[in-house]
């Protein structure tokens, strides 16, 4: 038998949103509401006594595990250092165009993407994924951009020739979908998209 405290705790941990007593009642229909409320209260006290990193707080709509405010600076520091190339779709597209068409000017990028706007260029420059690479010898001598060494390192490439070609990608994409994923059983019945 699983203890209800632990079951609730696992839900609190895995949930994206605050967890309400009403929601928990749906999960545990055989339990009384008071029982659930008591278990939550016990958990809260446990947290407040034992832990000095997180607490169980009552926020809009329910309960939620949150880290204590005194640790927030530490957490921010951690998140800041974490290397990541999380890019927006727009930035990814711009980076892709630069990678495959370098050196390239901003008007040329806009032309290819069919979208104006150079804010993504700034982001990519800041992330050191692209850099300026001389000026194009045409009217106005516009600045050209190319990918950096950091770009290669980040994507685990030795040189640009290791980028897959469009032809190679098309070969992979043209393969029939082979249902590499086992369809979840009776999938059609469950069309909940959260």
């Amino acid at each position: 038998m699983l203890e209800i405290h632990n079951q609730i705790l696992s839900i609190l941990f895995a949930s994206r949103d605050p967890v309400s007593i009403a929601e928990l009642q749906e999960v545990f229909p055989e339990r009384e509401a008071t029982e659930i409320r008591e278990a939550m209260e016990v958990l809260r006290e446990d947290f407040n006594q034992m832990q000095a990193a997180v607490e169980l707080r009552q926020v809009a709509g329910g309960f939620r595990i949150t880290t204590l405010p005194e640790h927030h600076e530490t957490i921010r520091e951690y998140l800041k250092n974490k290397p990541s190339a999380k890019l927006t779709m727009a930035a990814l597209e711009t980076l892709a165009v630069v990678a495959y068409k370098q050196p390239i000017t901003i008007p040329e990028i806009s032309e290819i993407r069919g979208v104006k706007g150079s804010s993504t260029i700034k982001t990519l420059l800041e992330k050191k994924l692209i850099e300026t690479r001389g000026r194009k010898k045409t009217a106005g001598r516009p600045m050209q951009y190319a990918t950096t060494r950091e770009f290669l390192i980040h994507f685990g490439l030795n040189d640009l020739s290791e980028l897959p070609t469009l032809k190679e990608l098309e070969e992979i994409l043209s393969q029939d979908d082979d249902e590499s994923l086992e369809p979840p059983e009776e999938d059609q019945d469950i069309d909940d998209a959260s």
């Binding site: 696992s10 895995a14 921010r76 892709a96 990678a99 290791e162 098309e170 059983e185 009776e186």
Partner: protein, 268 residues
Amino acid sequence: MDSNLSREQRRAREKVTGQKPMVFPAPVRTEQPDVQGLNIRLEIFEGPLDLLLHLIRTQELDIYDIPIAQVTDQYLGFLEVMKDLNINIAGEFLVMAAQLILIKSRMLLPPDPSEEDDEDFIDPRAELVDRLLEYEKFKNAADLLYERETVELGVHARGWEEFADDEKEIVDVNVFDLVRAFHGIVERYKEKVVIEVDHEPATIEEKMEELRRLVALKREFYFSMFFESRISKFHIVLTFFALLELVRMEEVRLYQKGVFEDIRIKAC
């Protein structure tokens, strides 16, 4: 969020959340060999090696001394059943069938008298056995991964991230994302060109400019892509003339594999 799940939905979920593997070929394999009846689910075989291993392991045959005649007959019988059931037999199964027949016939040949003793003798089955043993290791590794996956899918990480990044941000990108993004742009561009061709009056010069850009993007494409959407004959002719002009200026080259093949357009 839907909080009103039907009973069916709950039941479906309970079924899938079960701890033990369910849709899994291995248990089928542990059943008693049923080669006579051959009523094994066909899709469970990932390829000819998988099928052969199944025949060998379920009948507890010695893999180092495969009774090749017996196994070949069973293998071919299996393909027959597949054919009778109108199941499309992948080419690999047929190639293996041919190999088995070849090995079987070699086994029937008397040993070459010029070969002094057994040491020079190469068993015609040797290569197949090696492949089967090699494949079996990975098959086993795949079973292991299956079990690990089953456990890990039941394990949840923190659902909510404090100080999470913008919703706009997508996950870490890799090389595959990069090439796919570029591919997407090229496809989009192609569509745009086709639409423009369709709706706007164009001169040969404009058409040439479009083609130049397309060639710069794609390096190579097929003339047929201009027929992909509703398009007037006039524009096809115009495109064709523009192409010829580019060929004349040695900016692009045209290729054709055969008389009726599609024309390939490539940058010079």
